[in-house]
Symmetry: C2
Subunit: 135 residues, 2 copies
DNA sequence: TCTTGACCTTGAGTTAACTCCAAGTAGTAC
DNA sequence: GTACTACTTGGAGTTAACTCAAGGTCAAGA
């Protein structure tokens, strides 16, 4: 795992260079070290952090929360408790999201089964379809 | 289950009246019937449809997709296959989302356990913390 | 009669998270 | 020296999904 340029990181994590620069600008990623020509290079630590960000962003953890976390990291040990608290809040949020998701998945599967079984047929209106859709 | 006014529906599904009117404007909800004074009233069928929308929106199914579905409903039986297809696509999308979510949840839980066990201690930098965070 | 409150309309404003643009530089290839 | 490519910057533009504001109608109650 070596130092990578911005495009290499961009490919590795499937995220645009512009987004990486944007994350840096807003303080989600700390000052990235530069080569003599001014180009960024991303070391192991940064890559790990970016992987974490990308993972959590795929679950729509707000950028703002991640920035808060990053800022607390910079402030050192005085923020240990607050950091853990933030992680726990986000976890709770994701668990909630998961239960919503399960409800939606169940609903969609049910509805698809109605299409498959032919129970939803010609000319149904919103109202008529609803009668069937509402389990 | 009787006819409800816009604020009643708004309370029932925890969604703002403005949002309900917005949904109607963009064709996600069909023309809502009016009382003599011009006020909307929502009948059973509409309420069922709104419940469906709210459920799927909690899982971030795009409004645009729901509008597509609503428009196809209006077009009748010729769109049966396309409607089922749309539902299947959204289902696949949600399943994907769920697996992302599980990954994030696992990650957060792991990280929290590191805080709890005291393995993340004073003065860790991004880099140092990453070493621990990366399982 | 006056006021309050719930509703209406059109159209504009907001927010999050990118995403793109123009103009410039640094390094390599011929 | 002239392309060509990969980067740099600051700032503007985009998109989705609301969300609000201004001004108007109407019915019920003091």
């Amino acid at each position: 795992m070596a130092n990578l340029t911005i495009t290499e990181v961009s490919k590795k994590y499937n995220i645009k260079p512009d987004t990486l620069r944007y994350y840096e600008r807003i303080g989600l990623i700390p000052k990235v070290p530069r080569q003599s020509n001014g180009n960024r290079y991303y070391n192991e630590g940064l890559q790990g952090w970016i992987e974490m960000i990308v993972c959590l962003r795929h679950s729509d953890v707000p950028v703002e929360k991640l920035v808060d976390y990053a800022e607390m990291l910079n402030q050192g040990d005085s923020t240990l408790d607050a950091r853990e608290e933030l992680l726990k809040e986000q976890l709770a949020e994701l668990e909630q999201r998961k239960s919503n998701l399960n409800r939606s998945i169940k609903r969609l599967k049910h509805k698809i089964s109605l299409y498959d079984s032919g129970e939803i047929k010609k000319g149904k209106s919103y109202f008529e379809e609803y009668k069937i859709m509402d389990d």
